[in-house]
Amino acid sequence: MAERYSSFAPGGTAWLLQRVTAAFLVIVLAFHFFLLHFVNHAADVTFAGTQARMENVGYFLTMVLFLIAGTFHGVNGVYNALVNQGLAGTQKKVVLAVLVIASVALIAQGTYVAVEMAGW
Amino acid sequence: MYEHDVIVVGAGGAGLRAAVAADEAGADVALVSKLHPVRSHTGAAEGGINAALQEGDDWELHAYDTMKGSDYLGDAPAVETLAQDAPEDTIKLEHWGMPFSREEDGRVSQRPFGGLSYPRTTYAGAETGHHLLHVMYEQVVKRGIQVYDEWYVMDLAVSDEDDPNERDCHGIVAYDVQTGNIEGFKANDGVVLATGGPGQAFDHTTNAVSCTGDGHAMAYRAGAPLEDMEFIQFHPTSLPSTGVLISEGVRGEGGILYNNDGERFMFEHGYANNSGELASRDVVARAELTEVQEGRGVEDEYVHLDMRHLGEERILDRLENILHLAEDFEGVDGLIEPMPVKPGQHYAMGGIEVDENGQTCIDGLYAAGECACVSVHGGNRLGGNALPELIVFGKRAGYHAAGKDLGEPEIRTGYGDDVEDETDTELPVQPGAAGLGTADDVAADGGERTDGSRSSSEARSDGGVVADADGVLEQTVEDARVHVDSLMDKDTGVQHAEIRQKLQNAMTDYVNVFRTEEGVKKALTLIRECREEYQDVYVDDPSTTFNTDLQQTIETRNLIDVAETIALGALVRNEFRGAHWRQENQTRDDENWLKHTLISWEDGEPNIFYRPVILEGEEKTYEPKVRSY
């Protein structure tokens, strides 16, 4: 009976991380929005301003973490949604691989950009 | 054809328990049921399971109470077996995970119940039957017992010796409701019938739509006698539109019954000057009906049960589920209106005659549960005594069918030298098979064949008795196919629903709580009419997929047979005992009636006879006493 499900995959970790990142995102996202639309008007953003913020190591780290958390949360969400819709077998493996590559690329690119912004 | 060692027909509490027992005893078991097991009517039981579990209580007290409750029509060996086995079997349910209500110290709770000298009703909330049914089914799943659900069992494959005591049961014939296939099931060791009650013989019943007495009718036509069929318990508080049961708890908490004139009739009309609404079930039921018959019923149909004065808080605390029942099934809010109630058929004390091991007089044929009559309930069943009966006698039947030695039974079955024939009662009409017309008509009638024998006319015409198991089974399958074809082929005639309604009305009008000679005779006449109309029955639905029209048509035939035995029993037993009341003789007549009524089907005719009650127990004899509480 239980053996019907041969692929033993405890989904608990991903599920938990999705919640943890969500909780984290609430805070940073609110901060991010506030900072860039209300405190500093988006239209007034200049490279200099960005650099000034990015030079602060705390801010830099927060933003990178924000990116990692957001990427994981978003990509994992997308993946779950597809699996729920019945994605299975090879297709599923391919999608997972594509998503992982995209995430890694996104995070790498984002971090690179942030480093560049900080001017290091 | 399918083949198993033991075949259990019906998957309510009794059937499931029998299957588990047979499996434990090493047999290859199959359950065949017209409903998926968890749909069985055992799930509706609320109150609890009687078992002497606690210190201070013991099985002898339970046996004594049961015998007294039965109005001394229970057989002592059966009653004592029930009381002795119930504790262990109840504990076994607990070990299987049944969620019984608990005491502070973590032990199972027991509560007082009507007619018991000790609080020994073990319960799981107000849904004991539901839990019992599910726990038993879980055991069946655990053991991997084969279940054929939504297979309607049509007939028993029984050899056709003249004397029923010499017949053998070799299996069953069932109809796959999903596909319309008719198949034989061979039983190497035994067939256990556990098909539940016959409540649908009445118009107004707390029983499910599936309670159509199929097992009764099959066993009856195969030659096993039906015992004490006249003893039907009516519950005084059921909802008029559906028959849903309103627990005795409402009256226990102080609910009051009123008639249409707003009178508290239990007192004002002197039905029970001491206990009023709390008088025993039969007394209250008779009072309600008298009110209605004398024109003081609400809408000429029911009376009011009022609990508003108990106050919202108390009602919500103790009777909350009653509020839901009244709201869901009657559209009445019990907090602001009185609830309509009337007596409803509730339980059949009688059934297929069996001994303590569940065996009928036919070799290899067993019965257990409400369809059987080991005779533990006699003339009247105590609340909470049916569920232990299911597990105790279900288990015994399963064991015995699987070949386990349970010792020699003390109860005798079948027609034998210890019985007394019925001689004096005059019948208004000829009961039994109707219109022995053409072979087709008779096949449509589903039971008797043209020459009155058990097997089909074709088999008989070549002169021989079919004796070997496979032959008997094949023949029965063939008969069933002919039967179904003939029902399906007809395009005009009467529909079963009409006949069923007429039958149910006849029973509720004349064989209800009140029984008079004249009334019961009227009922027999009407039943006869139903039988004759049934000759013209046809099935409108041409489909072989899930044809419930066909299934119900066959059930209706069974109801006719069962209703007839109830009415016959009610006619011959001219006394007032337990739930059976007769206008002509309103006292218990121990001199003439300490005996069971037995009715068997012989050559298409009911044969009525009697067997004395066994009052000698293991150690003591139960002396009939006045039944007062």
Partner: protein, 291 residues
Amino acid sequence: MSTQQPEQPESQEAPKDPEMRGAESPVDEKEKEDGEIDQTTADKSELEGETVLIKVFRYDPEVEGKQEPRFDDFHVPFSKGMTVLDAVMYARDHYDSSLTFRHSCRQAVCGSDAFFVNGKQRLGCKTQMADLEHPVRIEPLPHQEVVKDLVVDMDHFYDQMHTVEPYFQNEETPDSSDLEEQRQTRENREKVKMSTRCIWCGACMSSCNIAAGDNEYLGPAAINKAYRFAMDNREPEDVKEHRLRILEQEHGVWRCQTQFSCTEVCPKDIPLTEHIQELKREAVKKNLKFW
């Protein structure tokens, strides 16, 4: 039967609507009926003596004219306390004996008659006609294949129920001949109480979008069944872990997206979503232990 009753349902002959959009059956007819019968929840007393219109899904693979699903109209005389089940039974017994549906207890314990009534999964016997908008549309449970009329194939539901090993597992019970039970606290019984009420009607499973999309998803009823055992202290710890492992499978608890429709339709008011969520947390807790 009143003389105003049509002997046969009006739409007997032709498959009205091949698209099966039964609710939108021919417009003019619908409007006419709207006028006749109070649209909103009808006042109970107002309905007295009236007839109510039910529109019932019909399908039979073998019968011509029913192979393509259609809706039949039945006018049923209303009486106080009438349930949806009473109405279909009346229609079957008086107008069309081939109208097919499962039913048995008439009191919400056998779980046979879960239908899709006016767009919601409900038990026929537990739903008052007077509480519904009229006309009343009755269909078989969605997300399951239709065998005939209102009868759906329940096999898949049963399979899922059986997958969670729905039986008590404790090899160490006391000897039953000593009449000794396993002890259980009242609190623990209270904890599992609601979960033990399930009557296997399948309404929850039918209402769940996830179960519809993923056939292997255990579904709310089976998870609830597992909850019933996992939370019962009479079962030893290792059995509980075993149960959680079953629930953690790919198609187990994680699939639930907390849509709550199961909880909303359950006729036994079992807090299904809550139970599923609790099991997710239990599983996470168990996994954290290994870190």
